[in-house]
Symmetry: C2
């Protein structure tokens, strides 16, 4: 059993964030020492690591909560997990497309700022339309 600081170091999740995850019900409440301090088992620290990895992959908290539940249960988990993953992948692809459009627009505007002009093309673009 480890205190929250140790759990934080081992899982890579910040102390405040661990408490937040607990409040938000993403991870269960750990046991407590007689003085009321949180005590984490290795399995619980593993769950924190799981959450961090999910977040690193960009899954929203709601998805991570669902994935945690799936990892706990057995059976048809993989189909459901793959569904969640596929939906998230779609969202990531859409976000990329959106940012690519943005990038194109910005590149055009900034490039035109290099050439000769009286009025700033970037500012003009924002005023127009």
């Amino acid at each position: 059993m480890h205190a929250i600081g140790e759990a934080s170091r081992r899982s890579g999740v910040g102390i405040e964030t661990i408490r937040y995850y607990e409040r938000a019900g993403i991870v269960g409440r750990p046991g407590r020492s007689p003085a009321g301090r949180r005590l984490y088992s290795d399995a619980e620290i593993g769950r924190l690591r799981f959450v961090r990895k999910g977040r690193d992959l960009g899954f929203p908290i709601a998805d991570v909560r669902a994935l945690v539940a799936l990892a706990g249960g057995g059976g048809v988990s993989c189909t459901i997990a793959a569904g969640i993953g596929a939906a998230h992948l779609l969202a990531v692809r859409q976000k990329i497309d959106e940012l690519e459009r943005l990038r194109g627009a910005l590149e055009g505007l900034i490039e035109s700022c290099g050439s000769d002009h009286n009025t700033c093309p970037l500012l003009a673009a924002l005023v127009a339309g």
Copy 2:
């Protein structure tokens, strides 16, 4: 002079958002009718449109505030505006790179979910190290 609803329609900025922009000091305070209702000139509506376009290009509010100020003043504005734009473009490119990495990771995981396996690869990846 136009009421806030008309200003919203003409600028494409929501009513609540316009008031938020005013509170946040992104746009100045408009005049008021005798009864205390906001009245917007065409120029002020233009400024709202400017803010919307900046936001559409993904500029954070602080940048938009700066760009509004530049559009108001004259002189060396373009160099500064181009600098703000270039910095934002860099941020957009970094975000894209990050999402591309994410996309790759997700694609790998989800693809492996299609093939034969005992343990779900996606869930396993989250549990592992």
